[in-house]
């Protein structure tokens, strides 16, 4: 009941009443299921909720209004790149010619989509400077696994089987080390220098014949371009290892730096970040993986091929035995990829370069505003890329107010909080990424809000500690949630009652 009155909603099960709803599909013949053996049937129906259309819609409309979202306001989540999600892309993904296409439909019936995916691959190759790309992975982490499995396959194909380690900087996203483990490799963590870059000495010590790969996020999750990247990559390759770039921060370097040209062997792209496909409150995403000629043979199957006559087709089973195999059931998250394609077409080459320029400009401006205010610690000086770290370390020492409190207080200003306590290497970190689609007025308002909260921390810390005050709920008891997990509602059991309509 949104415009006024209570905001929280009962569960959908509590809105249910036996005998409500139904009638959307034609009635089946009453003997339709007689041929299913009794022992294969369920004894009691699942306790699914029974609602009429109005109740379903009101439930989801009212729930939706409890969310902050990019359609509602600023969302400066560092590393997550919450840029604008264009509306035309949603239209496109729903075109029946795209949406109703079966993933196993014969190639002659899927030429439009195959062409789109093939063109998307070409665009990604130009953006990354790589040689080949797979569109299969469903997300960044899935792309990482794909990439590391290819690296494994590469070493294996060369009989180079003692390479069991992956070097990962300590500021890396958690998916990097977790990926190494999933691929059966060990993570070696690399410390960073004061300027945020990888500590070269430690890196050289860690590198060796046991090194399968290095995984570098560039720009790093500190928002800093790894200036010594040439040197690092040279050493990696000299040691016989390969270099994986976590491309989550590609938004910061479009048209300015091509990982393939610089010597990376493989990288993933988060379409749900760099190319603005909607993240939907947790997913979906897509994580295309681009590789150079070293890794091309190992790409997952099936690839999208263009025959000499211009027709497109999927690779046939067994056509390329060097492949690491399938990474998912079907060719890819096509519905996500076509949104990325639309985004890339909309911007074109010049627009992508502007995307990066404006994203970096906005981040540096916001960083400047905060640095100038003196209210927050700015651990890494100099230019940043598309995001930067601020810290409430001094505020905490002075007032006891932590980054978490500041994050909650920001909600009262109508902003989402930045990513907090990440990367783990910085005390009381806030990773702030404004993106290129927020106006300077919004950036200013956000900076003003942060500065105001910093002042409030001295003046009236309790109001921050007890924030948020205007959200649908106050702070949650997360400890109780974990101690005594309640992971599902237990509805009244269903019953084989006759259909209500």
């Amino acid at each position: 009941m949104s415009a006024s009155g209570p905001r929280l909603q009962p569960t959908i099960f509590e809105r249910s009443k036996p005998g409500r709803g139904g009638g959307l599909v034609p009635h089946p013949p009453s003997d339709a299921l007689d041929r299913i053996p009794t022992e294969q049937r369920r004894e009691r129906p699942a306790g699914l909720p029974e609602l009429n259309e109005a109740e379903v819609v009101r439930h989801y409309v009212n729930l939706s209004q409890l969310n902050h979202a990019i359609d509602v306001g600023f969302y400066p989540l560092g590393s997550c790149t919450m840029k604008w999600n264009p509306k035309v892309n949603e239209w496109a993904a729903r075109l029946p010619g795209f949406a109703n296409l079966h993933p196993l439909a014969p190639d002659v019936t899927t030429q439009g989509t195959l062409q789109l995916l093939w063109e998307l691959e070409q665009i990604l190759l130009e953006v990354t400077g790589m040689r080949a790309v797979t569109l299969q992975p469903a997300a960044g982490a899935h792309g990482e696994l794909t990439g590391i499995l290819m690296i494994r396959a590469y070493h294996e194909a060369r009989g180079d089987t003692a390479r069991t380690e992956v070097l990962v900087p300590d500021s890396a996203h958690g998916t990097n080390p977790a990926t190494a483990t999933m691929a059966g490799l060990h993570t070696v963590s690399l410390p960073h220098e004061d300027d945020g870059g990888v500590a070269v000495e430690a890196f050289r010590r860690a590198l060796g014949p046991q090194t399968a790969a290095i995984m570098i996020t560039n720009p790093s999750t500190l928002g800093i371009f790894e200036s010594r990247i040439g040197e690092l990559l040279e050493a990696v390759h000299e040691a016989g290892a390969l270099a994986y770039m976590d491309g989550a921060n590609l938004n910061a370097i479009l048209g300015r730096f091509r990982p393939g040209d610089a010597g990376f062997d493989v990288m993933h792209i988060n379409t749900h970040k760099t190319f603005s496909t909607p993240h939907g409150g947790g997913g979906p995403g897509a994580g295309p993986v681009a590789v150079n000629e070293r890794l091309e043979p190992y790409l997952p199957a099936p690839r999208i091929l263009r025959d000499p006559d211009g027709a497109f087709r999927l690779e046939r089973p067994g056509e390329r035995p060097t492949s690491i195999g399938r990474m998912r059931a079907f060719v890819g998250s096509t519905g996500v990829l076509l949104r990325a394609y639309a985004y890339l077409r909309t911007h074109g080459g010049s627009g992508l370069a502007e995307v990066t320029d404006d994203a970096v400009l906005a981040a540096n401006y916001l960083k400047h505003r905060l640095a100038e205010s003196g209210a927050f610690d700015i651990p890494f000086e100099g230019v940043c890329k598309h995001e930067f770290i601020a810290s409430a370390s001094s505020i905490k020492k002075r007032t006891g107010i932590r980054t978490l409190d500041i994050a909650k207080r920001l909600l009262d200003h109508g902003f989402h909080a930045p990513t907090v306590y990440f990367p783990l290497t910085v005390d009381e970190a806030m990773l702030i990424e404004p993106t290129e689609t927020e106006s300077v007025e919004t950036l200013d308002a956000f900076a003003d809000a942060l500065v105001a909260i910093a002042e409030e921390a001295d003046r009236d810390p309790d109001v921050i500690r007890s924030a948020p005050h205007t959200a649908p709920v106050r702070r949650l008891d997360e400890a109780a949630a974990a101690r005594n997990p309640n992971l599902r509602w237990r509805p009244a059991a269903g019953d084989w009652t006759p259909c209500p309509d």
């Binding site: 709803g21 699914l48 999600n85 696994l145 059931a329 627009g351 269903g494």
Partner: protein
């Protein structure tokens, strides 16, 4: 720039504040030698032109054939309300609910998804979603290894061949053995998982199995001996994994009822459009005992400071952002929006609607069976099925192609999809759902009659 808010004056103001002359100065940290030249891509495209381009590409697809193709992706009727709810920006333009106070919509919807799936599956722990059915299956297999500290899993050859491939890809990395359980060759159980073979595979004492994976219904549409397989697995100290199609669970016994410890499956059938392969919805569920092994997010109910009911991501100690290399999986981004789509679809249909969907599909499938048998393509297997089954057609690839020319997408050519299963070489895997029309079926049968003429093969299997 499209979507950009900055005017030239804004940019100037920001540059001046930062104290640099041009935006190039902000990229001075990129070593000169590594700087890229301008991207060689087409110029920007206005929305009006983009709309024309995309409409043209969509029109190059043939997505409206009389289709009998299922094989892991199913067309179902989705009431209009589902997509209209999904199109609300508050859902699809939100990120992971890191700030629960302003993400209760997403969090409650995931909790409800977990609850709905728990009801369907008869298992209490359901992850907030996985990438798709195949990756959920691979993660399920990995769970059995973590939970049992064993490193060998047995997977039925009646599981979707692509799922088996994905499990192999994942397991090659992790260095875990995957062995396949063959099919029953003939008799009433022809085409289902061979329990005797399973028993033999489980009986190797030096190589204890972590898990046993069967699909229900199987890739061939057949109903599998799930309870017996689970009993065998448990007797050998292994876990039982059921790979299920969730819509069928309106009618079929749920994994929890026949003793499965873990269930995995593809949620696309829950009203999600086929979309040429994704985004789909990986379902992953387990018993309470395995909760700390389940990969991916979990949302739980809790209270806020004022005691109001509220929802939050929980048990995060399993996840990569806390545990890093020791995490249960590397999954981060999942398929939350698809979980929401499935929930809305289920809520819209309700239990009766869901049962009608299954029953109507079964009825249509029976009509299809009758029509194809008459047209000369009898079933390949004798056992019970729900709404998908294999038929026997000589020279299936050619027949399939010629049917396509007549506007009929005659399912899947089994000889191409599972070349390593000679028993189905002459098979087409066909499927009907509630959206299959009598006209579609008649068109299929008529076209088939034309294409195979008098050359109808003899009936085989149990019907023989």
């Amino acid at each position: 720039m499209a979507y950009g808010p900055h005017t030239p004056a804004d940019r100037q103001r920001m540059l001046a504040a930062i104290g640099v002359r041009s935006v190039d100065d902000l990229f001075a940290d990129i070593p000169e030698a590594l700087r890229a030249g301008p991207l060689r891509l087409d110029p920007p495209e206005p929305e009006q032109a983009l709309v024309t381009r995309l409409g043209g590409l969509a029109a190059r697809n043939q997505a409206d054939l009389a289709s009998f193709l299922g094989a892991g992706a199913y067309r179902h009727f989705a009431p209009s309300l589902v997509d209209q709810m999904l199109l609300r920006g508050e859902w699809y333009t939100a990120y992971t609910p890191y700030q629960p106070e302003v993400s209760q919509g997403t969090l409650q919807s995931i909790y409800e998804y977990e609850s709905l799936m728990a009801e369907l599956l008869g298992l209490d722990v359901v992850s907030a979603s996985h990438y798709d059915g195949a990756t959920a299956t691979a993660e399920a297999a990995l769970m059995t290894c973590r939970a049992t500290r064993r490193d060998r899993v047995l997977i039925s050859r009646a599981i979707h061949p692509h799922y088996r491939e994905v499990v192999r890809t994942y397991f090659h990395g992790a260095g875990i053995a995957v062995e396949e359980i063959p099919l029953v060759a003939d008799g009433a159980a022809a085409g289902t998982t061979d329990l005797a073979a399973l028993e033999a595979l489980l009986a190797e004492p030096e190589r204890p199995a972590a898990g046993v994976l069967l699909a229900q219904p199987s890739f061939y549409g057949l109903l599998e001996p799930m309870a017996e397989a689970a009993r065998l697995a448990h007797a050998a100290g292994a876990l039982s994994v059921a790979v299920v199609e969730p819509v069928s669970l309106a009618v079929l016994a749920p994994p929890g009822a026949y003793g499965a410890d873990i269930a995995a499956g593809e949620g696309q059938a829950l009203g999600i459009a086929p979309q040429y392969g994704g985004p789909y919805l990986g379902i992953l569920a387990c018993t309470d005992a395995l909760v700390r092994q389940v990969p991916g997010r979990l949302v739980g109910m809790t209270t806020d400071l004022d005691g109001r009911r509220a929802y939050v991501m929980t048990l995060q100690a399993r996840e990569q952002h806390i545990r890093r290399e020791k995490a249960a999986s590397n999954i981060c981004t999942n398929q939350t929006l698809l979980a929401l789509a499935a929930s809305i679809w289920l809520a819209a249909l309700g239990p009766h609607g869901l049962r009608d969907v299954v029953a109507l599909g079964a009825a249509r499938a029976a009509e299809l069976e009758a029509a194809l048998t008459k047209a000369g393509a009898p079933r390949l297997h004798p056992g019970p099925y729900l709404n998908e089954f294999a038929v026997r057609v000589v020279d299936a690839p050619r027949v399939h192609r010629e049917l396509l020319e007549r506007g009929v997408l005659a399912g899947l050519v089994l000889g191409e999809a599972v070349p390593d299963e000679p028993s189905v070489r002459d098979g087409l895997l066909v499927c009907a759902t509630e959206v299959t029309t009598a006209g579609d079926i008649a068109a299929f049968a008529a076209a088939l009659g034309e294409v195979i003429g008098g050359r109808a093969p003899a009936a085989v299997g149990g019907a023989a």
